[in-house]
Structures are given as structure tokens and as C-alpha cells.
């Protein structure tokens, strides 16, 4: 990673005025999500401090992905509040929340088929640009400058993720790890304040996982708050400032990695009940 350019990314300019430095970047308060009789997310509350890396862990079916979908507005909450940068966002649409400075990656990569890697990342720049239908159709001079800026920023990010040479390759033709990188670049292109990563190391080998760990720390150092869901415990323990443990939709524990590793209840849900002694 020696060739990396440490480009500072300004946090999204659309910060709400009420979000002071002391307030949480993201705050969940008694969030519930029910699917019929199933409590997928049950009374979960936690805060994500600005500039930190927070991880959500838990066994399969614990409600991690549902939680992500609630935060991003993909699913409506049943009850409870989600406050992002001082604004309540439950009930808002996904694109509105994205506009407030939230970006994400997906567990099962969702890139745009038929686009080049560069174009995909340029779509990520959507919230930081404004040309509309009319300007686009008439190719107004105002769009030229914006288009150049979008392209330049997208190239910069591909460079940052060391895939600049693949800029013009069709995204579906790329290898898995490269697709992950394009997705990350697309999310970063929004200049987000909060980045949600849904299993960023899934399907990657240990070297690639180490790269991802370094990348996430670098993103944090740029001033972007990171919330991730991950199964790879070594990754989570290495980089997280704090960890939330979910089990059957409820919050089981919330602490620093060192303390989580010693938490008896967490060990129990991961290793099973010790029924020998």
C-alpha cells in the first residue's frame, strides 16, 4: 500500500447545523423491526461516535443486515428513532438519507451492469453534483465543468483503491476483489460523513482482508465514520473502536474489542453452551 495517495476527503458539506461535534454521528434509540410475528430487530439502541469505527457482529440471523436496511431507509422501522447527524431519518427515503451524507456498500455486490468501473464511481458522485434533465439534454456549459470534476474525482478514487488501470473495464468483467474495490470507490465518491460497510471482507482471502483492514483505517483517518457488519472476527477485533453484539435481534453487548472478547455471554452465543463441566 506504499503507493497510496493520502488524499484528504472533505466530509460531506451537507452537515446539519444542529449536529455538533459532541453529538453522535448516528444514534439508534429503541429501534424495533417486526416482520409479522418475528422480531428481527428488538429494542436496539447504540451510538456511533464521529470519526470512529464501530462494528456490528452476531451469528447468522441476528438481524445485522436488517439493521443496516433500517439505517439506510431500505426498510421502515416498526418503532424507535434513528438520528443521523442530528436529524431523525426513520421514515425518510434511502436517497434522502444518502443525501445527508450516508453511503454504503453491499454484502452481495451491487454494481451497475453495462457500465465501466469509472462510470460506476461517477454515479456515486451523484449527491455531490446537481445537473438535471434540462441541463443534461442541452449540454449546458454549466454541466461541462461539473462533468469534468465528477470524472476527476472518480479517477482519484480509483487510483486510491489501486484500480485506476481498470477504469474503462466493464464492471461485470472484473474479479470479485476488484468489484469490491469499485463499490468502495463508489461509496467514497459521495464524500460521505458515515460509511456503512456490509461484510467488506466476505469472500476475500487473508491478504485481501488485510488490505481491506488498512483501507478502512485509512478511510477513518480521512474523517469518515465507519459502521460495519462483519463475520471476520480478526478484522473486527483489529480495527474497531467499539463493537455491538446482536443475538436474535436484541443487543447482547456493546463494548471495546478487548472487553467483548472476554464477555461470557458473547462467547456463549459464538461457541455454544458449555455443557460438559
Amino acid at each position: 500500500m506504499s503507493g497510496l495517495k493520502e488524499t484528504p476527503i472533505p466530509a460531506s458539506q451537507q452537515a446539519s447545523a444542529s449536529a455538533s461535534l459532541h453529538a453522535a454521528m448516528l444514534e439508534l434509540c429503541r429501534v424495533h423491526k417486526r416482520f409479522g410475528g418475528l422480531h428481527a430487530v428488538n429494542d436496539v439502541s447504540f451510538k456511533v461516535a464521529p470519526g470512529s469505527i464501530k462494528a456490528v457482529i452476531g451469528p447468522n440471523g441476528a438481524g445485522k443486515t436488517t439493521l443496516f436496511n433500517l439505517i439506510t431507509g431500505n426498510l421502515p422501522v416498526t418503532s424507535g428513532t434513528i438520528t443521523f447527524r442530528g436529524q431523525q431519518v426513520q421514515g425518510k427515503k434511502t436517497h434522502q438519507i444518502a443525501r445527508l451524507g450516508m453511503a454504503r456498500t453491499f454484502q452481495n455486490i451491487k454494481l451497475f451492469h453495462g457500465m465501466s468501473a469509472l462510470e460506476c464511481v461517477m454515479v456515486g458522485r451523484h449527491v455531490q453534483s446537481r445537473s438535471g434533465f434540462f441541463a443534461g439534454m442541452f449540454a449546458l456549459p454549466s454541466t461541462w465543468k461539473e462533468e469534468r470534476a465528477i470524472r476527476a474525482r472518480a479517477m482519484e478514487l480509483l487510483d486510491l483503491l489501486q484500480i485506476a488501470d481498470l477504469a474503462n473495464a466493464e464492471v461485470t468483467s472484473l474479479a470479485f476483489g476488484q468489484q469490491r474495490a469499485v463499490e468502495m470507490a463508489r461509496a467514497l465518491a459521495a464524500d460521505p460523513a458515515l460509511l456503512l460497510l456490509d461484510e467488506p471482507a466476505a469472500g476475500l482471502n487473508i491478504y485481501e482482508t488485510a488490505e481491506v483492514a488498512r483501507l478502512i483505517c485509512m478511510i477513518r483517518d480521512m474523517g469518515i465514520t465507519v459502521l460495519l457488519v462483519e463475520h471476520d472476527m480478526s478484522l473486527v477485533m483489529d480495527i474497531s473502536d467499539e463493537i455491538v453484539v446482536l443475538s436474535f435481534g436484541s443487543k447482547l453487548a456493546e463494548d471495546t474489542p478487548a472487553k467483548i472478547q472476554k464477555n461470557a455471554e458473547v462467547i456463549k452465543i459464538y461457541l455454544g453452551e458449555d455443557d460438559e463441566s
Binding site: 444518502a98 451491487k110 451497475f112 462510470e119 454515479v123 451523484h126 434533465f133
Partner: protein, 360 residues
Amino acid sequence: MINRQRLSLAALCLVTVGLHLFTMLTGTEFYLTQLTMAAYYGLVIIGLGVLMGYAGQISIGHAGFFAIGGYLAAALTTSNLAAFQTVWAVRWLSGLGLLATGQDIYGAPLLTVTPWAACVFAVAVAALVALVIGVPVLKLKGHYLAMATLGFGTIIYRIFLASPYFGEADGISEVPGFILLPALGGFGPLVINGDAAHRVLNFYMAWGVLILGMGLLVNLINSRVGRALRSLHSSEEAAEASGVDTARFKLQVFVLSAVYAAVAGVLLTHFNGGIGPSEASVMKSVRYLALVAVGGMTRLWGTLIMGVGLTFLSLRGVFGTYDDAVFGVILIMVMLFAPEGILSLRLKPLFQRLFLGARS
């Protein structure tokens, strides 16, 4: 990328002049009439091409928007308001200069809406209808959206077919020419009508409109909005997460393609001097859809070429009374052998497969 598109537009201008020269040299200037009509239909097809190919939203009701444009233009420019001259609304319209006076064939006074005013009104109504229909319907996806737009097309067809104001099964005839620009200096008026004397002029106007329409769409698909449309086609979830207001963009492109269809309807109706209910029929919508597919969904140039080309052949009567059947066959063949459009075909391997048995 964008420069290649500009070159293609320039090439299309050359093709236009080339077509005119060809008909002049071969003494087949009567072809220009069908070429003019094909260009207007081409406008519908490229508008639908952006909706379907780029934004990934299907519509089997676009003949409806074409008909709204055409019928309203026809009805407004032929309804005689002379008897209502004293009504305040008519006086008000007249005061705004939106009415034209004339005489019918018996010398009776004729008071009608001017083609410009009728055109603006007709296109605005089509846009409004697209907006009102689009808000609920575009929430649907795939088959459901197809069925809903089919329903819309059927409703519009039956309305025009049933209402006496729109001439029922006869449609509306004797629609006057559309004077785009009055006579200026040494130039005659720029008028859209079917007079043989204006044939060459009309051919250039129609192709000019088509080239302009194409240029605007080419700009659009290479813009930020174009990328957003393509992104929502591929993954609405990821597009939303990137901040793309998918519902709004879908609606906007739906309205845009409806406007293209309505403009084509207005202009072709003035050129033909009338419009009939067959223009609103579902078969027409299916044909537009087939032509977009033949051209290759995501290839706007392919859509343009195949759309105008096949429409021209159809208008010349090359497919005879089997016209609609031919388009059905074309649709099936394209889906089987060239789902990405005819122009994507590599012909040699195809012929090998068809005639020499599978080789590879």
C-alpha cells in the same frame, strides 16, 4: 465517447441530404413522403428507446401519447368556434392571438385554434397525462408495469374511438398545415403539410426534428442524469443508496418519452392532414416496442436506424397486408437470435449456425 456521438449526428445530417439526392437522381421523390413519416415515427421510437433501454421501464402504451398529441392538435385546429364568438373564453383566446380566422369550403367564417397554440396544448396535455399515470404506474416493475401501460393504451384507444368529438372510427380529417414560420424575406413559409409542392421542405423539417431530438437524447444519456437512469435500470437499491431519487427520475424520463411521442403525433397529423383511431391502437404500441427491441435496447443509434428503416419499408407497403404479422415475427426473431439488437449480430457465425449446423 461524446465526440463519437457528435460525429454520428453529423453523419445523420449527411444521410438526410444523401437520401434527398438519391431520390432526386433516381426520380423517386415520392419516397420522401414516407421518409418524412418514418422520421416522425422515429421520434416516438427513440423516446421510447431511452425509457426502455436506458431507464429499463417498459411501456406498451406509447401510441396513446402519440394519439393524445395528434388528436388534440387535429381537433383544436379543425373545430369551428365561429358560433361561440361571443363566449368570453373564446374572446379571451382570440385576444391572446391564439385563434385564427378563415373560411371553409362553402365560404362560411371559420374560427379555429392556431396550430402553434394547439401543439403546445396537446403536448402539455400528453405530459400531464404521463405525469398522472406515471406516479402510480411506475411503482410497478416488469410484467406488472407492462400490463398497466397496456391498460392505459387501451383506454386511450377506446376513448378516441368512442367519442364523437374525435370523429369516432373516422378520426379527424382536413387538418390544416402547421405554419412553423411565416414567410420571411425571400423564403416561403415553413409549413408542415402534405402538399407535393412542400414535399422536400417537409422531408428536411421532419429529419431536422429527428436529428434535434436525437441530439438532445444523446446529450442526456451521456450526462449525470443519463448515468442515474442507467444505474436505476441495473440496481434500484444501489442507485438509491448512491442518492439517486429513482422514483423521480423514472417519472421524468417517462414524461420525456411521452412528450417525444406527442410531438411526433402533432407534427405527423399536420403532415398527413388527419389522424385516425388506428394510430392509438395497441398494435401500434407493440410495433414501437418491437422496433426498440430490434434496434437493441441500449443502442439508441441502432434503435433510430432500425426504427426509421423498418417503418419506411412498412409505410411503402413492402410487408403488404401482413404488416403487423411481420412485426410480430421480427419481435420473436430478435428475441431469439439478437436480444441485444440486430446491429449487435455477428452475421458470419449466425449463418454458419443456421445453414451449416452448429460448428462451435
